[in-house]
Point group: C2
Chain length 451, copies 2
């Protein structure tokens, strides 16, 4: 019989506290009954068999960088921590794939494959700290996904431990494959509610031969958002197209020592890549100059710094009672309109607003805020947030472009999806997890089993 390695289990209060929450807003703080660090698929199978037999809920966890509470502990749960399963098992440069354990840090994989002229494309802003397993759980996006697709498009195959401890393999080592239903795609983005990913075969892309960065400052956010559509009309596909508003720039200047805000009230940060990077950047500069953009030709060092600043643009704070960040995606044509309406919502409720967006995808991360400790204004904050969701949905958007539903957004899912669609998903969940032990209360509104 398989035995867990020494040091795999802890019930120390400090460990329980450290693994109780991710970076999402805390709605109902719970401590796990124990934390188990798995080091192999066999460890995970053993934990799942035991949990299954005892009827104990299991919450999986990687680096804990999620922002929707998908890894928050729930009542009476075991936290299954996968961060020690961090081996890159194989890099195959000719097949253009890598096989990894779930705890591998995104940037570690990218560093390892770069020497072969390859990259793992999905790059959430947290790529230096978040794990591939966590990226898979949320179907993470990132900056480059306008051109290279989200996590789903880079995952070819998975090893998954099911709720009863069975280990299965889904998908293909090949780029293409249509044998059977797309179980791989179903696990990606399922936030630990259908099974535990213990291995992934990912597709790698070619590291671009060149990068070119365009920084265009505009007098207001609406002008910058109009620039996004103008670049689209030019039929040029950037690798990165990010929008930062004035509040975001001011905050970055304060925290990072930059001086962005002095140059405009909105920044469109665009990167083209590949052999046509310079040509495409030239077209983009022309388009944006024509719209009144103040174009900065960034040199290589400054380009790295600007993109890096963008990756820090959530700010040092995590969401809390006085600051709530969102992740709505809207059709691209609605970008300008949605940003106007967000400002209107903030003004009417008397709360602050800053906006950063993966503009190429129409995926916005607005943050509403009130003064630290300003308890009286919390209801206004929540009302603004709620309204921003409804307005995003009314424009044809979704409640979450890339962060996941987790625990925090479960209450909104029914505003986006019909009862029939929710019920279908509950029945799928029951196929995989009939005891409803995997990450209860996350991703879907599902009642716990009674008795």
């Amino acid at each position: 019989m398989h035995v867990l390695p020494a040091g795999s289990v802890s019930t120390e209060p400090a460990d329980l506290a450290a693994c109780a929450v991710d970076q999402g807003p805390v709605v109902d703080h719970q401590l796990p009954i124990a934390v188990v660090w798995a080091q192999s698929a066999e460890d995970v199978q053993m934990v799942m068999r035991a949990a299954h037999a005892a009827g104990v809920p299991v919450v999986c966890r990687g680096a804990g960088t999620g922002v929707s509470g998908g890894a928050h502990a729930t009542e009476g749960c075991l936290v299954l921590n996968l961060e020690r399963m961090n081996r890159i098992l194989e890099i195959h440069p000719e097949d253009e794939i890598a096989r990894v354990e779930p705890g591998v840090i995104n940037s570690d994989l990218n560093a390892a494959v770069a020497e072969y002229g390859l990259m793992y494309a999905p790059d959430p802003a947290s790529y230096r700290v978040s794990t591939i397993g966590g990226n898979i759980a949320t179907n993470a996006g990132g900056l480059r996904c306008a051109k290279y697709g989200v996590t789903r498009e880079s995952v070819l195959a998975l090893d998954v431990v099911l709720a009863d401890g069975t280990l299965i393999h889904t998908g293909h080592r090949t780029f293409k494959g249509v044998a059977g239903y797309d179980l791989t795609g179903l696990f990606v983005g399922s936030e630990g509610t259908l099974g535990v990913v213990v291995g992934a075969t990912v597709r790698l892309r070619y590291l671009p031969a060149a990068l070119e960065t365009v920084a265009a400052f505009f007098p207001d956010v609406a002008a910058a958002a109009a620039g996004v559509l103008a670049v689209g009309r030019a039929r040029v596909q950037p690798a990165i197209m990010e929008l930062l508003d004035g509040h975001t720039m001011a905050q970055l200047d304060k925290e990072q020592g930059s001086s962005l805000r002095s140059r405009g009230a909105a920044l469109l940060l665009i990167q083209t890549d590949g052999y046509a990077a310079a040509v495409e950047a030239g077209i983009i500069r022309e388009v944006l100059s024509g719209l009144g953009g103040d174009i900065k030709a960034a040199d290589a060092a400054e380009a790295v710094r600007l993109v890096d600043l963008r990756r820090h643009s959530r700010g040092a704070e995590v969401d809390d009672d006085f600051r709530v960040g969102e992740d709505v995606a809207v059709p691209r044509s609605q970008l300008v309109n949605y940003i106007h309406q967000l400002q209107d919502i903030a003004d009417r409720h008397g709360v602050g607003l800053k906006v950063v967006a993966h503009a190429g995808d129409g995926n916005l991360h607005p943050t509403f805020w009130v003064g630290p400790g300003d308890v009286a204004k919390v209801p206004a904050l929540n009302a603004a947030l709620d309204e921003s969701i409804d307005v995003g949905l009314a424009l044809g958007g979704t409640i979450t472009g890339e962060h996941g539903v987790g625990q925090y957004k479960v209450r909104w899912l029914g505003r986006e999806q019909s009862e029939e669609v929710l019920e279908l998903q509950r029945r799928l969940k029951d196929v995989f997890d009939p005891q409803r032990l995997l990450n209860p209360g996350k991703a879907l509104p599902v009642a716990p089993r009674v008795g």
Copy 2:
């Protein structure tokens, strides 16, 4: 109560015969009890409600161009023909999406969006005759998918009528969206066994500013396949990278009046696109010249003709008792090896072989053949085919890269997937179709319900 339009139903023998099979090999010829042409989602709902109440199996059909028998009629079934649902409902150039009915022909959609500088990327060789609905059912690939991904990557949202007649909407109008499980992805490639797709929202891509075509002739297939890996090592991503062997070229010459075979025994046909098309083609020419390729710089007219020839490379014949085509995909590094082994298999069994491949994806379409009417050799043909599947799987491949399992390949699925994975899929199937009326005997080995 909804009434089907006049002319929607036929039990005429000619109609039953015309809708009894697609282009896949016929294992068990059956006539449907009737054919119903739907013209709206309401028509489909009505048909499904009636079939559900009466316990009648339903086989959906578009243009009938599938090659795995996914649209073959089964015993006592109704064929639900969706080819009259052929309206393009919306083209939104700024959102870069289109909404279509399932019967829209792939090339009709491409023609309609081209005037906006956009394209629908998935381009199966049948794109001039096959429907978007059929492409979705099989998760069709095509020539361009090395760069732009398969059908799955271009489908954002679906309208689906479930087995009991319920109409649901899945997915998003936005490029990104992670709310709930990926039901859209689950329906794509499910070959009409989980629901009836009655509408699709698809992502459009930018029509490339330029195309450049490289035709490289080699003395043998192994040299051409080595060229595929060399292009990969140069880290240049072609839009199209097709490999044709000598037999394929000879057949094309005969049927299409070309003169390919005189120039080599294998052709690597590569297309680069976008602003860097010329630069990338230049690198590819240099790489392939270094490998001994006889490089032809194709002018625009010849490039169109060559790619067009490739799209005809299955030949005029469909698979029958004397000719069987396959669709194995292998890891790219195994291309050379697999082609060698295919030739060895053909030689040992005394049957003919021709090979064409979406080489950039490692997706091969070998055809084994014996002389027309050579009944004595049919067992050898089938033995060669069977062996080619096993060898492909042993190299880490899949039994179907893009054609689907359909009816013909159900017998092989258990060689690729474990019993646990098959059982999981059967249970998913039962969530969507508890009576097992949707396309029985296709995609998965599922026994019909007894009684």
